[in-house]
């Protein structure tokens, strides 16, 4: 029982990460009809926004400490962050400690700008081109982006911890009357889940309740008619691309304490997020979110040792196996619309 509750929690947490990335992907696909293989790269860049900000906050000058020696026996050079000089060590430490949450503010404008720039500079020219061309150009872009990041940040993962206030985990078990330590869950992952829920909710509300959103939704359904009505849908779509980029970027920022970011994390997520989107049904936002959670939960259950004892290797293939079964029983995924990306 405890094990099952725990894996549901895990599934929700994993699912929220999948759903968040898939949401942005679907947003771009639904509005612009573009298959964006660079979406994983946007997620990765978001994560590196957090890395960059923490680097900025820890910008240092060196002082030579004669009392200590470095590995060559020379006097040790100690790095002192400028924030220590400006705010004192205690405040400085707090600021550095909170780098990841602060990065959200930093990442939003950066990601929207990158998204808009990408759309105007490149993607715009590919609306009418075959999907194969879109795949090639965005894949090329993804490689270029990740190589740039690798050039500046190296290939090794960079630890980007959560603020120390969120270290440790919350004991759900005692709340539900189980023994202590049976159902524990890290604070940061709970925050991640809540954050994902808020972002997903915000995107839906935005599309549902604002005029802007209504126009975009109408445009997703029938672009030509909306254009005939004299509405400049292009401008709105550009902004949607920016928003989608920001959603991916924020997912990346918040993910950094969970896994240390590295330059290829986008590629690692790319295939998975496409599977999620397709299982959800191309072009369906609720489908993408639902599929994210379904796959997240099933993946968690497949990783239980009780399950693996019966079916060894199930954890290796579960996502793909589920994808195959769903696509064979529901031709257009969970909530896909007819005629989208079927030719």
């Amino acid at each position: 029982m405890e094990a099952i509750i725990l894996q549901v929690l895990n599934g929700l947490d994993k699912g929220s990460a999948y759903a968040l990335i898939a949401l942005g992907l679907t947003l771009i696909f639904g509005t612009l009809g573009v298959v964006n293989f660079a979406h994983g790269a946007l997620f990765m860049i978001g994560a590196f926004c957090a890395v960059t900000l923490s680097r900025i906050l820890t910008l240092s000058h060196t002082i030579v400490d004669e009392t200590q020696k470095d590995f060559l026996g020379n006097p040790l050079k100690v790095e002192v962050p400028y924030v220590y000089d400006w705010f004192g060590q205690a405040t400085g430490d707090v600021i550095i400690d909170w780098a990841v949450p602060l990065s959200i503010l930093f990442a939003i404008p950066v990601m929207v700008a990158i998204g808009v720039l990408m759309e105007r500079g490149l993607i715009k020219h590919f609306y009418k081109r075959p999907h194969a061309d879109q795949i090639l150009v965005t894949f090329g872009l993804a490689i270029v982006l990740q190589e740039i990041i690798k050039y500046y940040y190296g290939a090794n993962p960079i630890p980007t911890p959560a603020p120390s206030a969120f270290v440790g985990s919350f004991d759900f078990g005692t709340m539900l009357g189980f023994e202590a330590n049976q159902i524990i869950y890290p604070y940061w992952r709970i925050i991640y889940f809540a954050f994902a829920a808020i972002i997903i909710g915000a995107v839906f509300a935005f599309l549902q309740f604002t005029t802007f959103g209504m126009v975009v939704r109408a445009g997703m359904a029938d672009r030509e008619t909306v254009q005939l009505l004299g509405i400049n849908i292009d401008k709105r779509f550009t902004l949607m691309f920016g928003i989608a980029a920001a959603v991916a970027g924020l997912a990346g920022v918040m993910y950094t304490p969970i896994n240390s970011p590295n330059y290829h994390m986008g590629m690692d997520f790319l295939v998975l997020s496409f599977v999620v989107v397709v299982v959800g049904g191309m072009g369906s936002l609720p489908g993408a979110v639902l599929a994210g959670f379904v796959l997240g939960i099933l993946e968690s259950f497949a990783s239980m040792r009780e399950v693996l004892a019966i079916l060894p290797g199930l954890n290796q293939i579960i996502i793909y196996l589920v994808a195959i079964i769903i696509l064979l029983t529901r031709p257009r995924g969970l909530m896909g619309r007819k005629g989208v990306m079927e030719d």
Binding site: E2, A3, L6, Q7, L9, N10, G11, D13, K14, A17, Q68, D70, F71, L72, L76, V78, K150, G154, A155, N156, P157, I158, P159, P161, V167, G168, S169, N181, Q182, I184, Y185, P186, W188, R189, P257, I258, N259, S260, N262, H264, M265, D268, F269, E299, S300, S303, M304, R305, L308, P312, G313, N315, Q316
Partner: protein, 445 residues
Amino acid sequence: MSKMTLSRRGVLTTGAAAGAGLALPTYLPAASHAGFTNAPTGSTVTLGFNVPQTGPYADEGADELRAYELAVEHLNGGGDGGLMNTFSSKALQGNGILGKKVEYVTGDTQTKSDAARASARSMIEKDGAVMITGGSSSGVAVAVQALCQEAGVIFMAGLTHSNDTTGKDKKANGFRHFFNSYMSGAALAPILGANYGTDRKAYHLTADYNWGYTTEEAVRTSTEAIGWETVAAVKTPLTQTDFSSYIAPVLQSGADVLVLNHYGGNMVNSLTNAVQFGLRDKLVNNKNFEIVVPLYSRLMAKGAGANVKGIFGSTNWHWSLQDEGSKAFVQSFGTKYGFPPSQAAHTCYVQAMLYADAVERAGSFNPCAVAEALEDFEFDGMGNGPTLYRAEDHQCFKDVLVVKGKENPTSDFDLLEIVEVTPTSQVTYDASIFGGELGTCNPGA
């Protein structure tokens, strides 16, 4: 048809000389005169440094390449001579190898066996490399080692920790300086017993591929021997990035130690996740919950950041060792690059030196002569104390380091501290236990 299996360099200069003033093209039955593949005939000898330059281990590969460049510099008489000064064998003169200037070519393994073999073949076929070295995974090491056996060149393995490399997949032309899973287990167990007691329940998370299996096996066997109980062992996919669903059930199992048989990105992520879950703050069975990482590398420690603090693991070498060899290497490397070398850099540097020394002692580049010179070669002064290159399986036997994540690191490189130098005798095993067939050396051609 005359047979030539993968060779080039020998022909090249002869061909050029013969073809020089002649209008007629020279037909050359390939390098049969040399007696072995890519016999260097000019004033230079080419070595092939095959390291990951792209992919997740690119930084490790970059460090390996730095070490090789340093080794080449020292072999050719440049720099401060590095470990040549402390090496017990004094065959190397700093005038290249056998008087030939050392040149090198580099390639990208991408940490994929296909790409690694393609790169190695291009070094052998195109550039005339007479020895291939480097790499950052056992899959690559085994694949390239088999290729070198076929082609008739020497392979000096880089970072490869699986028992298989000098176990079931061992080859007469391949040599490994790095330690292996078995040694990790043998070295770790006593320290774990001393620090955590002999009444412990261990939970293993194991990367689901060959290296993971051998490491789990080694750690299990050696810890069970000191009285630990293995509660469960769960295999995790190589492509896994989020290990939460594997870590969450650990506490429910009643285990009080978590062993992460993971390497590279897997290890960074699983350790980060485990610490996130607050496992190390828990009290289970009235004992502090502990985490163990059988194989450490500095780059992984760097990736996991503060999460490694106080966590035990093993490593081949560490720059804080105080023997003369290690100090000389750190000095040399640190002066050139500004930071201390990693264990990958050390093992690669030493491999290049050992190869050069063996050639000098054998008086020939012939792989069979080199192999003979390396087999049962005992040396000292290269870090890790007295070392034996065992003839039966071409595995180095030397001290193994047990390390622990440092509580108060002073820099990005100062993340681990040495807890114990496990003596060679404690990690030596019988050569036959892993099976495999060494075969006989192949000089090619």
